[in-house]
Symmetry: D2
Subunit: 298 residues, 4 copies
């Protein structure tokens, strides 16, 4: 989705000499939008290298994502865009290709999702920077350290420590200008207030194929029901538990011989793959919201 805190001034500093831009925009659908936007890009000496758009029959909205090569400064680019974005009442964002997304990762005890995110970040396959890994347990401190990620342990044992944990989340978000919060198997239910405060920039991985087995022990439920496929769902977090807009889903085939423990192991693979994919798309400004649905511009 358009990162809510994105303002046109935000990324100027380090990227005045950028030449590859990502422009994402949303507005009411009507004729002439593409012509108007592409006109602004021509004016900024830009060349469109990638373009995706979608007109939603559900909400009447128009969505667009463009990659543009241009030697223009951000200022000049924005000047060229201003009349267009105003005329069409666009929500928009101008980002730089490859800029690492400031990402706060929340974890509990399970390592697989954090390991996958961290490994891919280090391998240059995932453009995120992680100012902090925050956990209600200390077991993943070593893993974070190995990848050179700051780690902080704040136990959550009662309502008070839980509220303190959430205040710390918001503090880190504020302090480090965090653009995305990732629940990488963080096993606490967030307060509605926190969900609202982070709406559209907090992603969870659900250890099941939603809609499907919700709540605790989905793999035990899946075993009891004898399902032939198990899966995982990465979705935006909303205060309506496990019902936020779906970003990505994957499944793996299983059979009757798998005990619940093995379903868990198989499930963890799907989970980490699915979460990493969702974070990657978000970091590349490929995820936009259309009501309760996501538009994924792959």
């Amino acid at each position: 989705m358009l990162r809510p805190e994105a303002t046109t001034a935000r990324y100027c500093g380090p990227v005045t000499d950028a030449t590859h831009w990502i422009l994402t925009l949303v507005c009411e659908d009507r004729p002439g939008i593409v012509h108007a936007v592409s006109g602004a890009i021509v004016e900024a000496d830009g060349n469109i290298t990638e373009s995706q758009q979608f007109s939603s029959g559900d909400t009447g909205k128009f969505f667009m994502r463009l990659q543009v090569e241009s030697a223009a400064t951000r200022e000049r680019f924005e000047q060229a865009l201003a009349p267009v974005t105003e005329r069409y009442g666009m929500t928009w964002q101008l980002d730089v290709v490859g800029r690492p997304l400031r990402t706060l990762v929340l974890v509990s005890k399970a390592a697989h999702c954090l390991n996958d995110l961290a490994f891919r970040q280090r391998a240059g396959q995932l453009a995120i920077e992680v100012p902090l890994v925050l956990s209600n347990h200390d077991v993943l401190a070593g893993l974070a350290e190995f990848y050179g990620l700051p780690f902080e342990h704040r136990p959550v044992t009662d309502a008070e420590s839980k509220a303190a944990f959430e205040r710390r989340v918001l503090e880190v978000v504020e302090q480090h200008d965090v653009e995305l919060v990732v629940l990488a198997r963080y096993m606490q239910i967030l307060s509605p207030e926190l969900c609202d405060a982070l709406a559209g920039r907090i992603i969870n991985i659900h250890h099941s194929f939603l809609p499907g087995f919700k709540g605790a022990n989905p793999y035990r439920q899946a075993h009891a029901r004898g399902v032939k496929l198990i899966g995982a769902t990465a979705h935006f977090v909303t205060s309506d538990l496990d019902e936020g807009p779906i970003i990505e889903q994957n499944v793996v085939r299983v059979d009757h011989s798998k005990p619940p423990e093995e379903l868990v192991a198989i499930g963890q693979d799907v989970e980490s793959r699915t979460l990493t994919q969702a974070v990657r798309w978000f970091s590349e400004d490929r995820v936009l919201l259309d009501g309760a649905r996501t538009i994924i511009f792959q």
Copy 2:
């Protein structure tokens, strides 16, 4: 599952000269079963060419499926097995490899599942024989005729005609010694009585990935929720709607751009593929029931 009506005497007639047998059996798990069963097979001059077994941690039951090459007569085979099946209290069945399964197909208006079943049967990829295609509509009469399948149209418009339809189902089952009833997108809810009467030998294709979107218009629900995968589930029919034991599931990837109509078309492919697979496994005695779960000996 072990076809309930299977009796050892049933298939004698045409298959006295069979040389490839399928032996399926279920009993309480305890040591020595394999040795005892294989001993009976040695006695019948048989050679095991395929073998699968499963000990259920859930129910404590032992399941086995064997393919055996043997020139013994059915009578001699059964004599050799009798002491073993008695000692272990086995439910068992002796079938002939490749014997066409007597299958009653119920349809309404949608052609895709019937077409797939009929095409594969004719292509020699699905060992079923279809004494009747029974429908509450007449639109598929031509399709059935093309494949040389008897077709009968019985409108269902009220409680009385519905009861008459169901009586006709049981009559055909009785008359043709039907071993499997397939709901190939038959769009009427069956009475609990019919479900019970056909328990373990009636398969439905659910136009959704169960558990998930149940009831009507699953593709519309899937669209509204923005799912990234849609699927289909073939399952045994029980009186608990859409909750019978799952036999097979498949999914296909979709994205935000697909309107509900297109999801329907994509879904139909998955449906027919999934139903045909379930029928094939059943026809090869590969589907056994372990409580609410199926064992699939692929």
Copy 3:
């Protein structure tokens, strides 16, 4: 690919009242194209409802596919486009959404691909019209008849009858203004002359996962090698056997227990699915050529 014979005058007759258009175009990549094209569309009172583009790093070409809603006549649309297509030296085509593609199908004895194409066409899932099914065998006459498709049998037994068959192909192409020739498991190698004459509008399904096992008996080769996946490849036909640009590929998992016959059956499913998908994309003007590669605008 842009259908070579497409001219702007071609589809005027029956579609003067069209409101949904597909515009595909190819030219050298340079700045301003999107702005220019979208300007012409604005001029024709059009609204872009779908848009995809690709700049090839390999060939320096720019590819675009647009769906446009417009009440303009074809003539007015073309007048608006003319200055743009001239300025940028574009190869282009204006088609109508949903217009059935005139498709000649060549078959031999195997039914699965023809059955899938015909079933989906009748089910309204594949916008093709088939003026003729032409075969070097007569076994599929009944299948064609069932689907109401004209069928013609021309034996190919020697060089002369083969040349006659190929002349007949070109005759039908000419006579019915055929836009696509589909080799639906047609088991004769085409002459280089025919390949050249139909370049870019003839699709084959290869019974293997290319590059891989080429030539005869790929499933036997696959079995001998113990592969764990088998697949199929739909590709444009060129005179360089099995080396034409790939349009679509699919695979299915297999294991050691499958004898070659079963691999054949499994392979046939993948083949028909893959070929139908390729034909569908072509019929929707989603397949463009970039040197030896295809661009698929899904």
Copy 4:
């Protein structure tokens, strides 16, 4: 495959109190084998909990893998088996469920395969113990250290240093009683002598979907050819380069928009997943050799 060096005496020490055994065996196929083997198991008070068998139509061999629960000592188990294995001329092996496989890992610079193996081993999902990670480069020293794996760097720059490296491999194999050598993206071609010495216990991951693009730069070849699927193949190493028996294969869908670099990243995921799966199956005695093909008892 049956690990060549396996002798019945090997694992006695630490596992005298084992209760879950894996028995794998190969012999000429003839009637009575299952009965004889299961008889020996009954004699050792064993209960078969998992059983798989396969009769190869290609080689006439019979393959079996059994999991057995038994409180018998290894000695007693072997005494019970001896007459049977002798009578049928069986090659066989008695292993303990969950016993970590002594695995030597060879790497060069790419981290993804080693990371996946090490992470899963530590997560308890892969029963291997790694006495050494041996590399011709030093870049992965830190990764090995993080996972607590001994690491040794031996540059390979000419024929002499290459021979020294290979001697070191054999020395480690000898010294640590290594059961499996894994080429986790080790980028040197092994000498035929080393391949022969380690036949049946050395696995490679090929960065392509075999048969397919062999040799260097498969992803560049895949891009040039415009393939729609890329994959990876885990196979036994033989002196015939990239032609050893295939253990596992996977593919992932790609499209025209992916430059070679991105195909590499996608390919690495498939590679590590595929290699880990092959190693897991081998460590669980699920991989047997039938001529040039593998039997995988999943």
